[in-house]
Amino acid sequence: MEETTYKSISPSDFFYRNREIAGFSNPSRAMYSAIRELVENSLDACEIRGVPPDIYIRIREVSETGSGTSIYALRVEDNGTGVPPEHIPRCFGQVLYGSKYILKQSRGTFGLGGTITILYGQITTHKPVRVTSSTGGDIHEYEMMIDIVHNKPIILSHRVRANKAGWRGTAVELYLEGDYSRSMYRIYEYLKQTAMVNPYAEITFIDPRGRLYRFERVTEEMPPPPRAVKPHPQGADVETYRRLIAITGEKTMKGFMTRHFQGVGPATAEKFLQEAGIDPGKNPKSLSPDELVKLVRAAREFNGFQRPDPSCLSPIGEHLLEMGIRKELGLTDEDFLKVVQRRPSTYLGYPFIVEAAIAYGKTIERRLGRGIKIYRFANRIPLLFDESSGVVWKVVHKIINWGTYKVSPDSPMVVVVHVCSTKIPYKTVGKEYMADQPEVEREITNALRSIARHLRLYISRRIRLARERRRLSIFEKYLPKIAEFSAKLCDREKPPDIKPLLKAVSLEVSEAESPLREVPELEEEA
């Protein structure tokens, strides 16, 4: 009989063994994920600092390793907050270490992305990572590796330089095995879509072939930064409750509920605890594990709480989103573009906001071809994989009846959906697509329908306009003939003047061009 050995593994060891779940399953996917993780950390850092991001990305091919795969040097640099020197080793050398474990919207959540990228680079190339950062003072430069078994950074060198230019930000440079030619398209799409929802960012990318891509900043305006908020009683799990009890100074359950959760006043707390069957005067520290579970369950069922506070969310805003889409799709005034932001809503105690847009027209046909193209974003991150498993695909292809809006399956159309939340309902750790949470699904549906109503007017106006133009061209064709031959018929030298008649017809064309007015509700939406 074989002996069974029991041992625990460190988080970095776990992710080392299961790197595919974090998006590092093969060299081409890894290349894309590496860029994405580092760029997202940079965008987060700039937004926290409150400056329009300037992000510089460079990939350099170092040596070939096999058919299509090579060792690349990847450098991502930003003008964000910078990392305080004492945190640098652990932020970049320890999995599940980070600054984003609070309840406000950010791209990063797990304290995993950047570090696992470094980890992947290390195991494929055995080369250290170099992190250079400044929070405004001296520039600190670390060279380090990760001790995978113990989930600990190994510092190889640490240098401090004077910061004469007053630089602030972070640069991460690492080596990794990747496949650029296979990931090129995704990387480009990712950057383009990122630029679409971050029109205030300037992104420069130099690829291994020396090509320069620039996604230009079109505005300095940034969405207001999200605020950190207390958890909502329904959005917190048992573990959250346990941790809060551990740190609380409150002596009663009533006090505990009011102090540590959002939107709970003394009256609500009293009522809720009564319903949960827990004495409001009880000391939270004396809560038994069974009582704790009971409390969490009761919170889920209680409907006297206020809706979760959405001020921790940071939607892009209709104006910025419009600018971003317009610039990245190169839309003209002829094309249709409408953006809506829905009012905040909640699912399972988490606040969320849906923003959506539809673009339609000749430019899209020319650049992307016909058919409905979907761009999905979660907390301003583009989602590029598993499109047909996600909720947006379901809404676009299964729920909305586009015929109602005069849209056909081959209409040149782009659908943009952005969901922002303190907890995006991701289906996987790879953050690839959103599940069809009923509340989220409904909000997306309503957002798209309300835009589609505008689109319908636009399309019918297009049709009318085309018809009026066609009419005019017919009159322009035949009226001169009628004038010419009727004049000849009665021996006149000059045909009668048809201009006044043509003018009357072209007046109708300009009428068809007049702006949209009311947008009626439609059958389908009842």
Partner: protein, 363 residues
Amino acid sequence: MRRRLKLAEKRRAAVELALKQLGKIICEQIENREFPWIMLQSRSTDNIVYDPELRQYVLGDRVIRRHSRNIRHIRPFAQLIWTAWFARELLKLRKTSTLREVYYSARGLRDIEFKSQDESDEIITDLETALNMPRESFNIYPEERSAIFGDLTIEYTVPGYEGKRLNLTEHPDGMMIGPALSTAEIVETSADKVLVIEKGAMFTRLIEEKAYKRFNAILIHTAGQAPRATRTLIKRLNEEHGLPVYLFTDGDPWGMHIAMVIISGSANAAHLRGLATPDAKWIGVWATDIIRYKLPTENLTDKDVKRLKELKRDPRYQGELWQREIDTFLEIGQKAELEAFSRYGLTYIVDRYLPDKLEEAGA
């Protein structure tokens, strides 16, 4: 002769004036900042009625407006004006044109060009309706030609032949009824009747047998449905020269109808008068003749039966003779074509059948 020429000249001038007037109306409408339009009698089937007094089909009171403001009308409108101009040119130049030539003349004319001859024929019919004049009056003729033979002297009015006379016995094949003959003046005739024959073979045999002499008749061959020029000529011979007209067709529904169109006009020329010869008489071949003369026959086809049933309801066929013959056809289920007589030899027709039938008809 002067007088006759003058008459033809006057007629031509009247048509030209009507055309010119049309052009003037259109020009003035445009100058008044109005989209040009004209009024036409509607030719849709529900506006075609049988006028028992005139004994022909006529258009009812409904009129339609052909309006260039209407996107579906503007193209035919432009084509109509072009066709009017084309007709006026024909008259000016004293030329004629066939329907087909009109279609070809518009070829390559941008925005006027007809898609098919059906389209140009339709526009010409519009022009007839608008002007209330047959297309022959503005020198447009169909391709089909029928023929005439007999002691009849005519005088041409066409350019180059003005005043020239011709006797229609001159050519043993008969003379084609074309534009020149249609516009010719009738000078004199010794005949006392007109015998209209549906089939060419029979027409030729009757000339060969000198039947025209024996019956003292002018022979006209319709070649199927009689073209309008032929119908006009028949009418003129009947009304202006007092010659009774006898119609001799196949003994089947189609032959019957050839006779009927000569007598009462056709639905698709209801916008025109002066084509019908209400006093013409159909002398055969009747269904009852098949029995009486034991004519060789063929069975009626389904199509024949269907046609007979249609004709039975037609207002033109309500007379006793027609109803009786239709019923008899249906009863015996047989029909007889003119060629069938050859079984008896032609003399049988000339000596027995035709004299009998003419006599019965009161000739």
